[in-house]
């Protein structure tokens, strides 16, 4: 028996809604300087032209290996990093190059949850100060005063209002992450970018935070961009998933499609590499084992960035950049030889790693 989605999710409602966030050709290159005059001799192509949209109320999961540009993307969305190129349109406004001052009012609508619960809270501030900071910074008046609002928030994220005067070091990792979430929620943002919100937490605590994020989304109609490298977490939390590799989005689509019928070989490889806590299937799994590590973003391979590790790579992969093509409804991948495309070359066996839908 399966537990399918109980509460109807907006993404499942089918009808496409206007996107809250629209990203086109987003690029970030960090310059590398060298020599006597510190000339720029190259760049870390951390993010190299990515496009995606996020509809209001949905959750987009961003996965990929370390260094593929997830965090950089997230930081550009919240304008903590100035994009080198491309466009970010939020709620109909181009925020790509807004000045700090012009950006300030918009910050109410875009908030961030950070990865490290230990470094994301100022150890010298009380919980009340931390969670109340958004009100003060944005000069927002609340009905019953900031303190009440903060205490309500604390209660909402599962902390006690008495914690108002305590300091972060008195809390465990999971509780700190709740404080961080409360802070992000304070101004009732439309979009929350969460960069690895649970990867620093203990297994036993992760689920608490994931549940909380989901509950809050329902309650406040939030839109999430969740960055994570843990594929199971991403599957659990996202409506749509984008897979990044070396600064590029190689596949993006609805959760189910991506996990069950991945088009890009890299997605398949990722999925097959996840260790499964099931001893019974230990020895009869078929695995795709990628060789080596991702190449350096300073000097990425030409054309398809994945061709150096791809078992299907052919000459065309080395010369022609595959466009992001829609292979199934909403599911797009950048591959010359997609895995599960109806008309693409088909390699049997690799899809067996994913449990069949019911």
């Amino acid at each position: 028996m399966t537990i399918s989605d109980v509460s109807p999710r907006p993404a499942d409602a089918g009808a496409p809604r206007p996107p809250l966030l629209e990203v086109t050709g987003l690029t970030k290159h960090f310059p590398i300087t060298r020599g006597v005059l510190r000339r720029q001799i190259g760049a870390v192509k951390a993010v190299d032209g990515i496009d995606f949209t996020v509809a209001a109320g949905e959750t987009l999961g961003l996965v990929g290996e370390s260094g593929c540009g997830k965090t950089t993307t997230g930081r550009m969305l919240t304008r903590l990093e100035e994009p080198t190129g491309g466009r970010i349109v939020f709620d109909g406004r181009d925020i790509t190059h807004l000045s700090v001052a012009r950006m300030r009012p918009l910050r109410r609508d875009v908030q961030m949850v950070f990865q490290d619960p230990y470094s994301s809270l100022n150890p010298r501030h009380t919980v009340g100060t931390i969670v109340g900071a958004p009100y003060r910074l944005q000069s927002v008046k609340t009905e019953h005063g900031t303190k009440r609002a903060v205490q309500d928030l604390l209660e909402r994220v599962g902390l006690s209002p008495e914690h108002y005067n305590r300091y972060p070091h008195e809390f465990s990792g999971g509780q700190r992450q709740r404080i961080g979430i409360a802070r992000a929620l304070a101004l009732r943002p439309k979009l929350i970018v969460a960069d690895e919100p649970v990867s620093a937490l203990d297994v036993s605590i992760q689920a608490q935070v994931i549940n909380l994020l989901e509950d809050l989304q329902d309650e406040f109609g939030l839109t999430y961009v969740v960055i994570a490298h843990d594929l199971s977490v991403v599957r659990h939390i996202s409506d749509r998933v984008a897979v990044m590799y070396l600064g590029h989005i190689v596949e993006i689509g609805p959760r189910q499609a991506v996990y069950e019928k991945p088009q890009h070989p890299y997605t398949s490889a990722l999925l097959s590499a996840v260790p499964v806590p099931d001893v019974t299937r230990r020895d009869n799994r078929e695995r795709i084992r990628l060789q080596g590590d991702p190449p350096s973003p300073i000097d990425p391979p030409p054309a398809c960035p994945f061709h150096t590790r791809c078992w299907k790579a052919q000459e065309v992969c080395r010369t022609v950049t595959p466009p992001l093509v829609e292979f199934a409804p909403g599911q797009r991948a950048a591959c010359h030889f997609p895995e599960n495309a109806p008309d693409g070359p088909y390699e049997p066996g690799t899809d067996s790693i994913v449990a069949p839908a019911s």
């Binding site: 028996m1 537990i3 930081r75 919240t78 304008r79 903590l80 950006m103 300030r104 009012p105 910050r107 109410r108 875009v110 908030q111 961030m112 950070f114 990865q115 490290d116 470094s119 994301s120 809270l121 100022n122 150890p123 010298r124 501030h125 009380t126 900071a133 958004p134 910074l137 944005q138 599962g158 006690s160 914690h163 005067n165 305590r166 300091y167 070091h169 008195e170 809390f171 465990s172 509780q175 961080g180 802070r183 101004l187 608490q208 549940n211």
Partner: protein
């Protein structure tokens, strides 16, 4: 199947306990400062040093009262106690007696105890004010350089290099030498103190600046800074509300360690003869006088030397203790 298990009720059962973050037992809204204070209280040596510093400050403040009670004064001559031919105190051990517990000065027989006490005022005052100045400069510039990076950082860092590459003492001597007797509405010793404070403070800020810059650099990478920025915090807010409170510990520690350095600096200047105007006593000045007599009247050198030593040592001990207490890694 089945209703999802109610999460919240279960979660509130567990008491929020910091795993080893603070002390065991009840943790009732205790700030890191309070924890540090608790740790410090357990550090007997640091506490003793702290008490000694307090006593010293009290002695310095009460110097007029104490000397009056003892019936001495720092500037009164006791020529009758001086050997007229040899210019040194009659009797042994620098003329130690009941009336003059620490002996008397050669040449004119001034009471050494009174002078040491009054000297403490000058030494401490200059050291404190100079420390204040260098800490203020060091923190402002260090935070700015560390946080802003780029050109500002380059310029400030290079400036710090320049200052550190300087033979400071020379400049101090040179500057102290050209002090006019009246300036900025100050004159006499007031002006000299101001100038000494300026020289010492102005030349020692890079030490603080470097430390603060380094700390700021690492703090800047902490996510709470990004958090503040992502909420639209302006730079002053980030600097003063977010960064500065986290710099309190290093500032406190290194100020405490800077004070003894500055006491030594002031003493060195006085020792080289560019200190405070006579007859106002200062420890370095007393040592300077003592050079001429250190073999015939060693007490006169040992006493101000010991005063400097004990004070500097006390501040160093306290600084070490503070560092241990405030060190986030220390357990």
């Amino acid at each position: 199947m089945g209703a999802p298990i109610e999460v919240s009720s279960g979660e509130q059962r567990a008491a929020p306990e910091a795993v080893l973050a603070g002390a065991a037992g009840r943790i009732e809204g205790r700030s890191l400062g309070q924890i540090a204070w608790m740790r410090l209280k357990r550090d007997k040596v640091a506490m003793a040093a702290g008490i000694m510093i307090l006593v010293l400050i009290a002695l310095a403040l009460l110097a007029p009262v104490i000397t009056r009670a003892l019936g001495t004064s720092p500037n009164d001559f006791n020529s009758n106690l001086i050997d007229p031919v040899l210019s040194k105190p009659k009797g042994s051990f620098g003329g130690i007696s009941l009336e003059h517990p620490l002996g008397i000065e050669p040449i004119n027989g001034r009471d050494v105890l009174a002078r040491v006490l009054y000297g403490a005022r000058i030494s401490l005052l200059i050291a404190f004010l100079a420390t204040l100045l260098s800490v203020t400069l060091g923190v402002l510039l260090g935070v700015f350089a560390g946080y802003k990076g780029g050109w500002g950082d380059t310029v400030i860092s290079r400036t710090m290099d320049v200052f550190l590459a300087f033979p400071l003492l020379l400049f101090a001597i040179a500057l102290a030498g050209v002090i006019p007797s009246e300036a900025f509405g100050l004159s006499g010793n007031g002006l000299r103190i101001a100038v000494l404070v300026f020289i010492i403070g102005f030349f020692s800020w890079p030490y603080m600046g470097r430390i603060i810059r380094g700390q700021t650099l690492s703090l800047r990478e902490r996510e709470f800074i990004d958090a503040a920025r992502s909420m639209g915090a302006r730079t002053p807010h980030v600097l003063f509300r977010e960064l500065l409170p986290n710099l309190v510990a290093p500032i406190l520690v290194y100020s405490t360690l800077l004070i003894p350095t500055n006491i030594l600096f002031e003493a060195a200047l006085s020792f080289l003869g560019v200190g405070i105007n006579p007859p106002t006593p200062s420890w370095g000045g007393m040592l300077n006088q003592a050079i001429d007599f250190y073999r015939v009247d060693p007490m006169f050198m040992i006493i101000p030397g010991a005063a400097i030593f004990l004070t500097v040592m006390a501040f160093n001990l306290l600084g070490d203790g503070l560092r241990d207490a405030l060190d986030p890694r220390a357990r």
